[in-house]
């Protein structure tokens, strides 16, 4: 087929409209690669179609830009926070005073958090004492004894790591306490399809904050993950990953409005749409 015959055949129009089979499209691509006339005709048709599409160009409403950029920034933050979720958080010692108000909180989880916090505090003191001893031992050691020095340094490093973990747990416990004490939070229970268990969720409608208590959730396979969805006006929004069997409340992506919350089991990786056939627990709000 000559260039002109191909151009007059109408196949190029169908190619540009995406209406050819893969094999037919491949033939056109081969023909156009070595043929300036065919190539030019395709480009002209593509430009014409683009011009038609651009007739519907419309500036998005005011405010969309901020939302889109904030959403993109939040997605980046979520990715980064997931990667660094186990890193060090700064200890705020003054928050221990909150423990004194424990009697005001009636939630069943509160005693567990208080006990855990106290154990964490004792452990922190204990590890500090041990580290001080290790430091003293290190000072007293003969500087020529390199093996002993190395051993002490390793012990010190281990103790530091343990302290970091304790600090992190303590911070999580204190944050959980804050949520449980805050009257702005409403406790909502997501219920499994068979009704045998519930997953508590705490939602602050005034600022959109959401926390999930995944302490009693089941473990899932390594390649699976629990995903929380906030449904508003029928549209599900990914509110983040819930880690099962974590004893502290987990902060999720906030939402000011919701008509339902659902936990689904998804394959690990980027999840943009819920697999509602794999619902783990859900609740529709009245």
């Amino acid at each position: 087929m000559t260039s002109q015959e191909l151009i007059n055949s109408g196949k190029l129009e169908l190619y540009v409209l995406g209406e050819l089979s893969e094999a037919e499209a491949h033939e056109i691509e081969i023909a156009s690669a070595g043929n300036p006339d065919v190539n030019e005709e395709i480009r002209t048709l593509q430009n014409a179609l683009r011009k038609y599409v651009m007739c519907f160009e419309k500036t998005p409403p005011l405010g969309y830009k901020r939302q889109v950029l904030e959403d993109l920034a939040r997605q980046n933050e979520v990715r980064e926070s997931e990667e660094t979720s186990k890193k060090v958080v700064n200890e705020k010692a003054e928050k221990f005073e909150m423990l004194e108000e424990k009697s005001k909180t009636s939630n069943i989880l509160l005693p567990i958090f208080i006990v855990t916090s106290l154990i964490s505090l004792i452990a922190a003191v204990f590890f500090a004492y041990r580290m001080q001893n290790a430091n003293n031992d290190l000072v007293n050691l003969n500087s020529d004894n390199s093996l002993v020095k190395e051993s002490s340094l390793k012990e010190k490093e281990t103790l530091l790591n343990e302290m970091v973990t304790v600090k992190s747990e303590l911070q999580s416990a204190l944050l959980s306490l804050e949520v449980l004490k805050d009257s702005n939070f409403t406790k909502i229970e997501l219920i499994s399809p068979d009704g045998t268990f519930k997953v508590p969720l705490y939602w602050n409608r005034s600022n959109g904050d959401i926390f999930v208590d995944g302490a009693n959730m089941h473990a899932v396979r390594e390649d699976k993950t629990f995903q929380l969805w906030t449904v508003n006006e029928g549209i599900p929004d990914n509110s983040g990953t819930v880690i099962p069997q974590v004893k502290y409340l987990q902060k999720m992506k906030g939402a000011m409005n919701a008509e339902a919350f659902s936990l689904t089991i998804e394959s690990k990786g980027d999840v943009t749409d819920p697999s509602f056939e794999n619902i783990y627990a859900t609740i529709t709000l009245e």
Binding site: G10, E19, C55, E57, T59, K65, V68, D71, D273
Partner: protein, 183 residues
């Protein structure tokens, strides 16, 4: 290289290749540049496909997210950035609409209605209005079914109970008319 590109952003002009490089690095100014220069095109496609402001808002955000997620796939040697962007926006919006079951009305009727009501005419440049007005309703109908509803020739033939060959010829004629108007 990055500094040079950033300087160009400040001058409100950046070559596509440099823009793509900065977007891959999640550069905030590049993101804003992308939005400022390309969001009307993307929103226009999304709105036509979703056919509802509310659904379009949600899909529009996800389309932008998808564009950035797939920015590493873009190859400037095989495609213009603008064409790639429109292709990703269209395919993502069609996929999301299909997955979530948003109902698409007869788009060509809406095109006609918008032109008649002056909605489209009031917001679009005169050159676009002329371009659209030179297409007859049937031509718009077929272009919309294919581009904005993502239907194949066979699906259109079945939906409107017409021979596939007749639909194919009408689609070709519509694009041919676009070409004539364009040139």
């Amino acid at each position: 290289m990055a500094n040079t590109a950033k300087e160009k952003i400040q001058q409100d002009h950046i070559p596509e290749e440099a823009l793509v490089g900065l977007l891959k690095g999640k550069d905030q100014k590049a993101l804003e540049y992308l939005y400022d220069h390309y969001s009307p095109a993307v929103f226009g496609i999304v709105l036509r496909i979703a056919n509802s402001e509310k659904a379009a808002e949600k899909i529009f955000k996800e389309v932008f997210s998808e564009i950035l997620k797939r920015i590493t796939e873009f190859n400037h040697k095989t495609e213009k950035f603008f064409d790639w962007l429109l292709r990703i926006a269209r395919s993502t919006a069609l996929e999301l609409v299909s997955k979530r079951g948003f109902k698409q009305n007869n788009l060509s009727d809406i095109v006609q209605l918008k032109v008649q009501e002056g909605i489209l005419g009031n917001t679009e440049p005169a050159v676009s209005r002329d371009f659209l007005n030179n297409l007859n309703p049937e031509q718009k109908h077929y272009l919309d079914l294919i581009y904005f509803q993502g239907l194949t020739i066979d699906q259109i033939a079945e939906k409107f109970n017409q021979p596939a060959n007749a639909v194919r010829n009408k689609a070709k004629a519509a694009l041919h008319m676009l070409k004539a108007l364009h040139s």
